[in-house]
């Protein structure tokens, strides 16, 4: 599992990277927001239809990887694209678990899906990882357009 290299992000391709940020409560019926935003960013980055579908599934996998622990928390997503490369970072801000049944967590339902999620991410994106960012867990991915100029 690689570490997210931020250093070369801002000057790749000589352009300004576009940043889209999205935060929402960790609830199952809001995960679609993460997918729709990924599709928009993929389209802006010049991804083709298949690559956009890959990105939609990959960001879904990032977000659901936080489910069990973080019900009641807030999901923060940061989408960047630059020269045909999309980077998505997902962090979670823990919340008070006042309504556990309503959160993204599904209890024992989700046990053991981490392996499926990892297999999907391995296949769908070029790089992905999990690390601590200012004391909070962060999962991220990076995907290049097939015909990327970078």
């Amino acid at each position: 599992m690689k570490r997210l290299d931020m250093s070369d992000r801002d000057d790749r391709g000589g352009g300004r990277p576009e940043v889209i940020a999205l935060s929402f409560p960790a609830r199952a019926d809001l995960v679609a927001l993460a997918r729709f935003t990924a599709a928009s960013v993929g389209a802006r980055a010049g991804f083709d239809v298949e690559e956009i579908e890959d990105l939609r599934l990959a960001v879904d996998e990032l977000v659901v990887s936080f489910e069990a622990v973080q019900a009641g928390g807030t999901i923060h997503l940061r989408y960047t694209h630059d020269a045909g490369t999309v980077t998505i970072e997902c962090t979670v801000e823990p919340g008070l678990r006042s309504h556990p049944s309503e959160g993204i967590a599904g209890g024992e339902l989700w046990g053991g899906d981490g392996e499926l999620s990892r297999q999907l991410l391995d296949a769908l994106v070029d790089e992905h990882g999990r690390e601590q960012r200012q004391g909070r867990p962060c999962v991220w991915l990076r995907k290049h357009r097939a015909n990327a100029s970078a």
Binding site: V31, E53, R56, V64, L109, L120
Partner: protein, 114 residues
């Protein structure tokens, strides 16, 4: 009950974290009612993530333990791709169209999941 026949469950749209729990509930209700073989119609499903896949894997094991199987009816390339990536394309009996409903109890059990 024949191992080849069983109720049909239809799901459409995006099968994700928001939908997976009710899909699981629906399939397990049929298992609890004594069915060991189930058919899941994914013909109008457009998206399937690891949480939905986790449901399919769990229910498949329950079906097999009861001597039956979980059949998937799927043609959507994106869903086939997910099954292939995770090595599950050969774990389920796959069908390109709905089985003939005549002579089974599927007609009664068919319910649209939405």
């Amino acid at each position: 009950m024949s191992e080849d026949n069983g109720p049909l469950v239809v799901v459409d749209g995006e099968i994700d974290l928001a939908v997976a729990p009710s899909l699981r509930e629906r399939l397990e209700t049929l298992l609890a009612a004594g069915h060991s073989t189930l058919y899941l119609d994914l013909l109008d499903a457009t998206f399937l993530d690891s949480t939905a896949l986790g449901v399919l894997v769990t229910v498949r094991e329950q079906c097999q333990r009861a001597g039956g199987a979980l059949h998937l009816i799927v043609t959507e390339p994106r869903i086939l791709k997910v099954l292939e990536i995770t090595g599950l394309a050969t774990a389920f009996p796959l069908h390109g169209s709905r089985p003939d409903l005549a002579g089974t109890d599927q007609g009664d059990e068919t319910t649209r999941h939405e």
